[in-house]
């Protein structure tokens, strides 16, 4: 359903600097419906940049991002809007994921308001109803982000992203700031959602154990390139690329 063809993205340091950093180099892969695709790689290898390109936050230099055979990277702001409802994203840092000056409820109402899905009152009603599913309680609605825990914020962010009923969810290290228990909560929740809403996920992380545990397909990224791509099983049981081998080995040895 999502297909990347030779996507390249680079940053200049603005004029008159001539240096360019290319965090994403000719990346091609596909994400399949209702499957979880894991993206692993060292920090700084371009994972977040790739995620921002897919969600249209940043224009790409070359290549194509196709969503159901529509080239997203050619769309204008207005034409993007319908796809906004289909592709959503959750960010890495819980501490900046929500506007710190707004109560949680305000942040949750935002998608309804922006897409005029439901009138205010019904939106609030709907939010209240879905809280339990995400393991949240009502009192949280009237707090500010800094008054709730990181795990809760990530769940609120997830709730907000899912309230548009997207088809594809991009998760950029959503659990890297959380402890194992909360991480497990989050993962459980995601799996539940995937079943219930028939969601496809692109899950970005550098925690190989985590990726191995949850994804159907794994992409290994290094310095802006996809080194290897394949089903979780095949990647970890018979890696081809030496780098992948190293990683798989570390898992097998049981060390890290």
């Amino acid at each position: 359903m999502l297909e990347l063809r030779k996507v390249t993205k680079s940053y200049g340091r603005g004029w008159p600097f001539s240096q360019k950093i290319t965090p994403v180099k000719e990346v091609s892969f596909s994400v399949y419906p209702q499957k979880t695709t894991g993206l692993v790689g060292k920090s700084g290898c371009g994972k977040s940049t790739l995620a921002r390109c897919i969600t249209g936050l940043q224009p790409i230099d070359s290549g194509h991002i196709l969503y159901q055979d529509v080239s997203l990277n050619r769309l204008s702001f207005r034409d993007w809007l319908p796809y906004r409802r289909k592709i959503q994203m959750v960010f890495q840092h819980p501490d900046t994921a929500l506007n710190p000056k707004k109560k949680i409820l305000e942040s949750l109402k935002e998608p309804f308001r922006l897409h005029r899905i439901l009138p205010e009152r019904e939106a609030v009603q709907k939010i209240r109803e879905s809280l339990a599913f995400f393991g949240l309680t009502e009192d949280i609605l009237f707090r500010y982000p800094h008054q709730v825990s990181g795990g809760q914020i990530q769940r609120v962010a997830l709730l907000r992203a899912l309230s548009l009923q997207p088809e594809l969810l991009v998760l950029d290290e959503p659990t890297s700031m959380l402890d194992v228990s909360v991480q497990a909560q989050m993962i459980q929740l995601l799996q539940k959602i995937q079943q219930e809403f028939s969601l496809s996920m692109l899950f970005i992380s550098h925690d190989i154990h985590l990726i191995k545990a949850i994804s159907d397909q794994v992409l290994i990224m290094k310095e802006g390139r996809i080194l290897e791509q394949g089903s979780t099983e095949s990647i970890f049981s018979n890696p081809i690329h030496p780098e992948t081998k190293k990683i798989a080995d570390s898992l097998r040895v049981g060390l890290f």
Partner: protein
Amino acid sequence: MTYALPYALKKIILALPVLIGVSVIAFLLGVVALGDPAREALSADGVSTPTQEEIDVKRRELGLDQSLGKQYQQWIGGILQGDLGTSFMTNIPIAEEFRDRLPKTVALSISALLLVIFLSIPLAVLMAVYQHSWFDHIGRLFSLLLISTPGFLAAILLMMFFSVHLRWLPTSGYGTFSHLIIPSLVLAFGTSGVIMRVNRATLLEVLNKNYILNAHAKGLTNPFVLYRHALRNSLLPVITLIGNYFGGILGGSAIVETIFAIPGVGRYAVEGIMSMDYPVIQAYVLFTGVVYVLFNLLIDLSYIIIDPRIRLGGDQG
């Protein structure tokens, strides 16, 4: 160093249009103000009233009958050759006046700047270190007092106290270091108040940083941590601010120079403005504009030294 050069280049290139803009506005400011410079030149003595013919002759003589574009061309052409024009009122070349006066204004501004730095930064440090103490509260009020006292009032009060009452310092004039003390204090006051508050805030922010905690964990002494780790980092934003305020100090020197009888460019400008001596106004506006731009360029460039991220291409593009 590979990043320093393009950075510097960019700053310098961006300064150019600013300089051009400044020169255009400087020129226009002189022209736009009401009053006829020719008439003013002829009534400089305060007793004569020139006739219309006399005024017309003078206008032609001063080149005021030409189109604005042409006047600007001539003006800027002269400036580029180091000729700032001649005062309509005194017939003294402006460049000559500037040569006489500039050192005085510069001395005044620099000493005010130093005072700002040595007055506000230590106080800000003490306030931040003893946050919520009496010292902090009094310091806060003091900074507000500095911000909200009109300069002329401060000038008169300081003069009455230090010169007339205590006789420690001369009331006015220019010559020795002691002549500069009160004027630069007055000039420094408002800015110091702001810098105090800002520096206190930035320092508090820095003191909450992890690397400060780490420095303590290393067993370093408090003053050392403060000096080596906190102060320098907290000064980065303050330096930019000081750059911004330098313009204010330069501009504010006009009134201070008049009060304290320091024959600097500021007073020259006030006299020029009062008598519609527009070559003088233009030269002054251009001068302060250029000094400001250059000073800020200097500050921008100084970041190459102060902030390694700029020099070596960190994430500050």
